[in-house]
Amino acid sequence: MDSSPRVEINESTQRASAAPFQVRGRFFTAIVLQMARAPDAAFFDAVDTMLAQTPHFYANAPFVLDLDHAEDIGPSFDFIGLAREMRNRKITLIGVQNGTIEQNKAALHAGLITLPSGTDVLPESRKPPAAPKDEPKPKPDKPGDGNRNPNESGAKEPRVRQAPVTSSTGAALLVTEPVRSGQQIFAERGDLVVVASVSPGAELIARGNIHVYGTLRGRALAGVHGDSAARIFCETLDAELIAIAGLYKLSDAIDPSLRGRRVQAFLDNGTLCVESLR
């Protein structure tokens, strides 16, 4: 998801004499390891196997540990040691997500950052006013000693908080010009509607749904903040890649009979489905 056209970079170097730096937003793709439990010998074996298969793919990529299911990682867990072990394998841990307060504290102590998991990111302005100020940001309280039922408040809470966002997505971004190769359009607040064609090499990114009333030949990434209810609709499908909430399909993986059709793409139980609209 890296963007910034080269021309822009040239400009910034031109102006470099005036200001020591410029602040630019940028999106990076991080790799999330969903931990089933605290890492043991089998974990490192599995990591080694993964690296042996595609050694270059993971080099220099930022890694995030998802601790949602790793309840046995306690407050005294040695994140520093784990980061060192991973570093030896040329894997760089940058942070954790879905951790308990204790897990987050231990991770912070080890120099890792705590990242909000996809579903519970909310822009400040959109936060329900009722939400108590002192609520811990990434996740509400949950027992740090394990034995947590995933269906209880901890897992449910984000979805409840998500609801007002989907209902109040008034901030759709409308594009009426063709989206050219190399252009990237990001609807950071809601849906993205394109009433033109999207060329190969162009990229559409939206927090919510993506609608293309034209031919979609480039890439479309909906629900990039983790909204798995987001969908992609297009008048004519010829996409290079479609993705919803981080799950993606390359053109090769899309049923060839859907090419050139009116389709929608959505997530069904964690599977990215593409089906024709009648």
Partner: protein, 271 residues
Amino acid sequence: MAKVIVITSGKGGVGKTTSTASLGAGLALRGKKTVVIDFDVGLRNLDMVMGCERRVVFDFINVIQGDAKIKQALITDRRLENLSVLPTSQTRDKDALTREGVEKVINELRSEFDYILCDSPAGIERGAHLAMYFADEAVVVTNPEVSSVRDSDRVLGLLSSKTRRAEKGEAPVKNHLLLTRYDPVRVAKGEMLKVEDVLEILSIPLLGIVPESPTVLSASNVGTPVVLNQASNAGAAYADAVSRLMGVQTEMRVLGLERRGLLQRLLWRTA
């Protein structure tokens, strides 16, 4: 008021310089005072295609850096008195171009000429960016093949965002598609993209279709823009494109050319 037109493509080798030479000569033939500027600093080609490389004393970069007056660097064509060439430097590189310098030169030329054609280098870096920055119109030169179309599309995106008109929020740069090296036989065999396919992706108005022709290369080699050879199909196609660039409605001839592909082919062969 002079019109500044950039001839650009993104991809190299599609015929930007050849097209600049022919469009420039074509406009001059119709009595328009025209100057062609070579922005491809370090790879000086336009003066060769125009047949004036032996007359280059001062160049575009000398003018930008204040070492020469614009009158000293401009070369008037020996065949067409309305046509001038502003050659570029062979010894410098694109970093010698500055936005202020280019603006100054273009503003000076505006009072003298009706058309200022900027021959862009390939790529989307500094040289290409400055060639398009001050443009009022753009001729996007494209070959009927996928990588050329993709690069043209990228360039169209830059024309709509990285030009002075875009930055000042003025009327957008007017784009024209010039399809070059078009071979109807290979299109019929499916080896080349059809005109409709290219138009569907790029969705900008068609300025002309220049057929693949051996006369283009031989004209470049002797330094005569192919538009001056009216017996050549490519020359005739460029002459049509010049009419359209001047706003003369010859749109139907293009469509006819495409629809009567076979007949056209026969006519081209006997030409």
